[in-house]
Amino acid sequence: MSEQTGKQLSKEEKDARFEAELLPVLDPLYNFAYRLTLDEDDANDLVQETYLKAYRFFDYFEQGTNAKAWLFRILKNSFINEFRKKSKQPAKVDYSEVEGYYNSEDVEGEGGVASTTDMRTESVQDLIGDEVASALNALPVDFRTVIILCDLEGFTYEEMAKILDIPIGTVRSRLHRARNSLKEKLEKYAKSMGYNS
């Protein structure tokens, strides 16, 4: 919006700032993409596309503003505009694949955690992690998104509103409904494990 908008960056400046300000967001961005698409290849494509767009529109990015929120916003728009259309089917939910992905070194192939009698803290932790992932992945993508942005990435409501292009009131109600739905799923799980909620 400022008088700086007209100022064109040299290629060197652009490349340097791209490296310093945008690429460090790669990890959270990839995680976000993966949670949206639930597929490694799709997450890869989505992240690449996001960075290409970011580079192309770098002049619109105001230095010192929130690079992470800006990139998340671009990624989410790409996901909605192109990606969701391209893959006609709703986001794939294949838990076995997701689990295998997490424990790539120690996949035993057979039945998995349930048959394990060893309840070391570590495996209990893994078990909770897998269950949380399954419950989260089973949520509609809009619900999943607000939970990730808020609880995993620590965005404020205001940032979330900007990323998602919705009013803060909608952020709040969506988050509220998403948490209720997640709570329900996890409570069922806790009961099946013999815990009382």
Binding site: K11, F18, L23, L26, D27, Y30, N31, Y34, E40, A43, N44, V47, Q48, Y51, L52, Y55, Y101, Y102, Q125, I128, G129, V132, A133, L136, I147, C150, D151, L152, T156, Y157, R172, L175, H176, R179, L182, K183, L186, S197
Partner: protein, 93 residues
Amino acid sequence: MESKFTEVYQKGPDDSYDTDCSKVSEMLDLIIDGEATSEEEKYFNTHLEECVSCFESHQKQKLLKGIISGHLKRVIVPESLALSIRAKIQETL
């Protein structure tokens, strides 16, 4: 001892306490996400001192947030990704 508490909030769902509880339950997310104003926080905490059921809802909501942030594993970014992003950018200039 505790009956004193339960009495207070079991008076019936249509009494005046109810408005406090629903107000507080609407604030739950604001509170656990650190988005509440200091007045809202004060109101919230005061109510929790005298209402066991809201106290418990707060514990649950905090637990849920903690489970997500603490137990959901992050996926590992493929090492080749940063490289291919840089390469793509240079070739599509």
